[in-house]
C-alpha cells in the first residue's frame, strides 16, 4: 500500500502504522507490517493488512 502526500509517520509497529495526512490520520492495522520505503512525498507499506481507518 502506497500513500502519497503524507505528513509523516505518527506511530509505527509491526501491527499498527499511523500515517499523518492532511486533515487527519490514516490508521493501518495488520500483521508483519513493514515500511518498504519512505520518501518525502510517498510511503509504501507492505504486510498483511486487517483494517484501514481514516480518523479526522
Amino acid at each position: 500500500m502506497s500513500v502519497e502526500n503524507h505528513r509523516g509517520i505518527v506511530e509505527y509497529s509491526s501491527e499498527r502504522v499511523v500515517i499523518a495526512v492532511s486533515e487527519g490520520h490514516l490508521v493501518l492495522t495488520g500483521e508483519e507490517l513493514m515500511i518498504g520505503f519512505v520518501y518525502q512525498e510517498e510511503i509504501t507499506i507492505t504486510g498483511r493488512f486487517r483494517r484501514v481507518e481514516f480518523c479526522r
Binding site: 509505527y12 509491526s14 507490517l33 513493514m34 515500511i35 518498504g36 519512505v38 518525502q40
Partner: protein, 408 residues
Amino acid sequence: MALYSLWYYLTGHLRITVQGYTPERFLNLCVQRGIHLWNIVKDGDRMQANIGIGGFFQIRPVARATASRVRILERRGLPFVLARLKRRKGLLVGALMCLAALYLMTCFIWQVEVHGNEEVPEEAILEAARRAGLYPGAYKSEVDPKRVEEQILLAIRRLGWAAVEFRGTTAVIEVAERVLPPEAAPDVTPGDIVATADGVVTRVLVFNGRALVSEGDTVVQGDVLITGRLLEGGEEGEAGPYVRARGIVRARVWHRAYEEVRVQEEVKLRTGRTFDRTLIKIGDNEIIIRGRKKIPFKLYEVKVERTGLVSWRNINLPVELIRETYFELVEVHQEFTVDEAERVAVRRATDRLLMELPPHARVLAVREAVVQAGEGFVGVEVILEAEQDIGRFVPSPSGQEQGGAGRN
C-alpha cells in the same frame, strides 16, 4: 525492482538496527533530511532498516536528536567486497595468479590427436610431428602448423595431405592417405619387339635389347625389330641372356583404303525439324512426361540422353530420366557428276584412314587414284603415308625358360 537491487548492490548499503523510544520520529527526521530508508521492519522495540552508505554518514544527528542507538548489522554491496579484498591482498594476488596460470597453461599443447589415418600408424605421424616441433608440452606460438604439415608430408610419403589445427590446447592433425598405385614389378618377361605393319624404318630407339633393324630397312609385319637376346649368337646353341626388349621403332607405313561412290545415291538428311520427348523409366515401365507417344515423323534419327536420378554410393535406383530428341529425316536423291563422286569417295576413304591411325602418327603424304570407274559409280583408292610407331612387344614363346629356343 531488479534495477534497484543492482543499484543498491553497486553503491553499497547497510542493514542497521535502531533502538530508541520514538522510532517514528527517527523515520520522519530521516525523510526530512532526505535520508533514504527502505525495508523497514519493527522488531519489538527495535527497528531494522536498509540505508545507503551516503545516508549512513548523515544519520548521526538524527540519532542524537531522537536519542536512538544505531548499530550496523550487515554491510552489503560491491564497495564492501572491494574493501575486504583490499585488506586481503593475498586473495587478490591468488586470483590473478590463477588467471595467469590458466592463461599460461592454454599457451601449451597438452594433447596431439591424429585423425584420418588408416594404414599409417599414429605413432609415425606423431613422431614426424614431434620432429617438426609439435608435441605435448610444446609452446603453442612456436609451432608453425604449415611447417608441421610440410614436415609430416615429407617424412611420411604415404600421406597425401595433412592439416594441423589447434582446438584449445589440443592439436589435431588431420591426414589423408595417398592411395599408392600397386607397386608394379618391372615386367621382366623376356621377349622381342615385333613389327605390327609393313614399312620402312625411319627411327630406332632401343632402351633394352638389341636392334635388329636400322633406319632405311624395309620390314614386314611380324619381323623382329628389337630382340631381347643380348648376344648375337644366342640363337644358335649358346643361350645368352634373354631380356625384355624395350624400345621405339618408327617407320613409314602405307595405309590403303578403297571407297566406292555411286553417281546416283539416296542420302538421308535432317530436315531440321525436331521432336522432343521426356520419359521416366521405372524398372521396365516408361512414362512419358513430356511429348506425345506417337512420333510425328516417318523417317527419323533419335538421340537419347539418359540420366540416372540418384546414384548414391553403389545403389543405383532403377529410375532413369530419358530425354529423346527425334530428328526428322528426308531421303534425298543425289546425283553427282563423276568428279564430285570421286571427291566424295576420296574424302570418305581419307577420313576412314585417319580414324584408324595409331596415336602419335604423323601423316607424310596422301595419294589417291581412281581405280575403277564404271557404269554409275567411281572407285577410289587412297594411299596414306604415315610415320608411326610399329613396335609391339611379344613375349618369347617359351617365356619361362630363358633362352629355351636356343636348344634347337
